[in-house]
């Protein structure tokens, strides 16, 4: 068949035409498979969210939270898996909106981009856009002009969807004014408390009742099993002081890594962009190339005109006003073709045309900051710490298995392992109760389970060496053990009686209150010592939520009205509602507007969630749970 193709040009051409037609339909990308690369935290509709992107979003969110709490944030908040999950959900949602935006070709014009940048307060000085501020702010974020604009463009595109779906909900005016008037309604109430204490003394607890209560709750009166331990800890940290680092090793490491120790080379460049999309038609590319050639010719004729031409002709909105200046940047900040060109030019030299995804660039390098490299003596301290840590963790990896074998093979003592690795046998002073998850200061359910295992308690064997994370393993043995003990009725009689008495008194108080309420509702008179009047507003809770609810939920058509709530463990509160002051809301009341906005925002958030969940059905979302859990420093 191959021969046939070679000899029959017409058929071959027809087949080639077919192949190129499929490219026209599906694009080349669909032929390149991009299967779940390592370091992906999630994929949304087939597009990856990288671990780098995720960690950066985590850092940004941490910064935002710190900024809004003035630095007073419990670090545990950021360790919480829920925090990381929330950051990821947010990234996924943004990605869903972006996919929707690009599927529907939503776009952002250069003009809109320029206006948005000019309107960002962080880039302004005295209320005016300042290019110096702008460049400095970007550098502070480790971004350059092009990458920032690209990012902003993406955000503005999905903002177009977000505002329509999530910020344009409306709520009925009548509903808003009902909520507001309910919030402002004032009820004057008197209260009588029925306290358990009143009923304590008159209660008789029969021995049978106490016994029955004890039987029903027998487990809660038991003392759990408990142990004391001796244990060994082997960790990379404890090995750090036991490894040595030679001068030769330090020098070798210095030679190998010195380029990374200092700051890398940075270049200051200007450019002129003739924009043409990466997927533009050949005619468009040719036109852009021709235009760029003309500009290049002008610059070659008179190099001093570069800035002026950048100002008038460059399509890069961020840099053109500044004569094309991009400031200093290192490797990795710019697109690859741009970087290759910029880092191969000499100072003052003008590049030929450089094609990137944005279009054609003409680049001139204005300044070069050479890479700085610290001397061996300057770097020594840092190198030694690094090497020591590396050696310790290598030693730890080698030792861990041997350690595990030793404690397993000689199960009746920890001493062989202690001697072998020069470790100290430590012991716990306090009892460790069964069910605790922290053992000897280590939070480890596996260790807690091991020390209460049959072999640890009955056979008095060492536990296995247990990995408790963070390059640390622990082996323990039980030195004392007390089994779980049920306490006899006589032992706990006083405790049982007092608890039962308290419980019955609370029940009696609640019953008395409820009976009283029933009588009052029927219209019977009651001799009660009502307290002072209290003015309550639903919007300003002064009582527990269930009491507020019951006071405001009682029908107010005939006053006084009665209501009450039982307070768990604390008896009963009976209320007499004497007066209800309803508030009529004027249409012009400014509070209506505030309430409308808040209410509409909440409803908009619901709409947006509904929209996002529809997008989740369209673009498959896959979360890589393992990558999500890995902390950047763990």
């Amino acid at each position: 068949m191959f021969e046939a193709v070679r000899n029959n040009k017409r058929i071959a051409q027809a087949i080639l035409a077919l192949i190129s037609v499929t490219f026209a339909f599906f694009g080349i990308e669909s032929y390149l498979n991009n299967n779940g690369a390592a370091g992906e935290v999630a994929t949304v509709g087939g597009t990856p969210i990288s671990a780098y992107e995720f960690e950066q979003a985590v850092r940004e969110q941490q910064d935002r939270i710190r900024a809004s709490n003035e630095g007073q944030v419990d670090p545990a908040t950021f360790q919480d898996p829920l925090f990381r999950r929330a950051v990821l959900d947010n990234l996924v949602n943004q990605r869903l909106l972006s996919l929707f935006a690009s599927e529907h070709r939503l776009s952002v014009s250069d003009e809109q981009l320029r206006q948005t940048i000019a309107g960002i307060p962080a880039f302004q000085e005295d209320g005016q856009f300042s290019n110096a501020r702008y460049q400095a702010a970007l550098r502070g974020q480790g971004m350059n002009d092009l990458s920032f604009q690209e990012r902003l463009r993406g955000e503005l595109a999905y903002q177009q969807v977000l505002s329509a779906m999530g910020e344009a909900a409306m709520v009925p005016k009548a509903a808003v004014s009902r909520v507001l008037s309910a919030q402002l309604e004032e009820r004057t109430v008197h209260m009588v408390r029925f306290e358990p204490e009143t009923y304590l003394k008159s209660l008789e607890i029969s021995p049978e009742a106490a016994k029955a209560y004890y039987e029903a709750n027998i487990e809660s009166y038991a003392v759990p099993a408990r142990v004391k331990l001796s244990y060994l800890v082997l960790s990379a940290d404890t090995l750090k002081s036991k490894v040595t680092v030679s001068d030769d090793e330090l020098r070798a490491e210095y030679e190998q890594t010195k380029l990374n120790l200092g700051s890398p080379e940075e270049r200051k460049a200007r450019h002129i962009l003739v924009q043409v999309a990466a997927d533009a038609s050949e005619a468009d590319v040719a036109a852009a190339s021709k235009k760029a050639e003309a500009l290049l010719a002008e610059i070659k004729a008179d190099g001093s005109r570069f800035e002026a031409i950048a100002k008038t002709a460059s399509d890069d909105p961020g840099s053109s006003a500044n004569g094309g200046d991009l400031g200093f940047f290192g490797r990795g900040a710019m697109l690859k073709p741009f970087e290759d060109a910029a880092f191969s030019l000499a100072v003052g030299e003008v590049s030929e045309l450089v094609r990137s995804d944005f279009g054609f660039h003409i680049i001139r390098v204005d300044d070069i900051r050479k890479a700085t490299i610290p001397s061996f003596e300057e770097a020594r301290g840092q190198l030694e710490a690094t090497l020591r840590e590396r050696a310790a963790s290598r030693r730890f990896a080698e030792s861990a298995e041997q350690f595990a074998n030793l404690v397993y093979e000689q199960p009746d003592s920890l001493e062989p392992a202690a001697n072998q690795f020069g470790l100290e046998i430590r012991s716990t002073e306090d009892w460790i109760e069964k069910g605790a998850t922290t053992v000897a200061g280590f939070e480890s359910p596996a260790l807690a389970e091991a020390v209460f295992s049959q072999s640890a308690i009955a056979s008095k064997h060492n536990t296995d060496a247990i990995d408790i994370g963070n390059n640390t393993i622990v082996a323990a043995r039980v030195t004392s053990h007390e089994p779980a003990q049920r306490r006899s009725f006589d032992e706990v009689k006083a405790e049982v009686e007092s608890q039962l008495r308290q419980q019955q008194a609370a029940e009696a108080a609640a019953k008395a209150g409820a009976d009283q309420l029933a009588a009052l509702t029927k219209g019977e008179k009651a001799d009660l010592s009502w307290g002072d009047p209290i003015k309550l507003q639903r919007g300003l809770p002064m009582l527990p939520p269930n009491a507020m609810t019951s006071v405001f939920a009682v029908a107010s058509d005939s006053l006084p009205a009665y209501t009450g709530v039982s307070v768990p463990g604390a008896g009963y509160a009976l209320f007499r509602v004497d007066a209800v002051k309803k508030v009529t809301i004027d249409d012009k009341d400014p509070r209506l507007e505030t309430m409308t906005d808040q209410y509409a925002q909440l409803m908009g958030a619901q709409d947006l969630r509904a929209f996002l969940s529809a997008l989740r059905e369209r673009y498959a979302v896959k979360i890589n749970a393992a990558a999500l859990a890995t902390d950047s420093n763990g």
């Binding site: 529907h104 939503l106 344009a168 909900a169 009925p172 639903r538 309803k582 969630r609 529809a614």
Partner: protein, 217 residues
């Protein structure tokens, strides 16, 4: 010519026969594919051009919403609906414009774009959301029956809270307090079924429900 050996001659003959029989088909398919490809790309170009123009108008709508300028929003959104109704900007602009019109108290002009979305949006969820927003506008206009009619269908799960909450509002307006209570309770049940951190919608619905219990109207 003479270099072909017998086997090659044979192959060539077979191939010629095959071409004589199927050649027209191959050619037709290739031509159809080429025409389809060219029209597809033309269509793509046309779509890109349309959305770019709609995008410019949409940024006018966005700005008008920020400035609370109902007339400007209505005009720009109107142009999108008239000239670029096939783009994704059409439903987005309609939803945005409706919000400003309602805020300006113009229920008539708030309802029109929402009606358009309920009928024409290609995304079912956008139609559902527009229906809810339209119900709120109808209530403001005093048309309780129309609002209730919009809320008669079972909502998709993610919009249950919104749906029952609005049904409660409509039933209060209709004087059916017992039914309104049930609707608010259904909204609260739906909110409790899916806990969203930081979402306080349930508090508002609970206040409306409790206010009804207290006999307030």
């Amino acid at each position: 010519m003479a270099v072909y050996d017998l086997e090659e001659q044979e192959q060539l003959a077979e191939l010629k026969a095959w071409w004589a029989q199927y050649g027209w088909m191959v050619t037709t398919v290739a031509v159809i594919a080429a025409v389809a490809s060219v029209s597809w790309q033309g269509w793509q170009w046309y779509q890109r051009k349309q959305t770019a123009e709609a995008a410019a108008l949409y940024s006018v709508v966005q700005k008008a919403v920020v400035d609370n300028d109902a007339a400007a929003a209505r005009q720009a959104a109107g142009q999108i609906l008239e000239n670029f109704s096939g783009t994704a900007y059409a439903p987005l602009a309609a939803l945005m414009s409706a919000k400003v019109q309602q805020a300006a108290g113009d229920t008539g002009n708030a309802a029109l774009p929402l009606e358009w979305v309920t009928k024409n949006a290609s995304e079912p969820v956008m139609r559902d959301i527009a229906r809810l927003r339209l119900a709120a506008v109808r209530l403001d206009a005093g048309d309780t029956a129309a609002a209730l009619a919009l809320l008669s269908d079972e909502p998709p799960p993610a919009l249950k809270v919104r749906h029952h909450d609005l049904r409660g509002d409509a039933l209060v307006a209709d004087g059916k307090i017992d039914d309104a209570r049930k609707a608010y309770q259904a909204a609260l049940d739906a909110a409790d079924a899916v806990i969203v951190p930081g979402d306080r919608s349930a508090e508002i619905i609970r206040i409306k429900l409790e206010a009804l219990m207290g006999g307030a109207r």
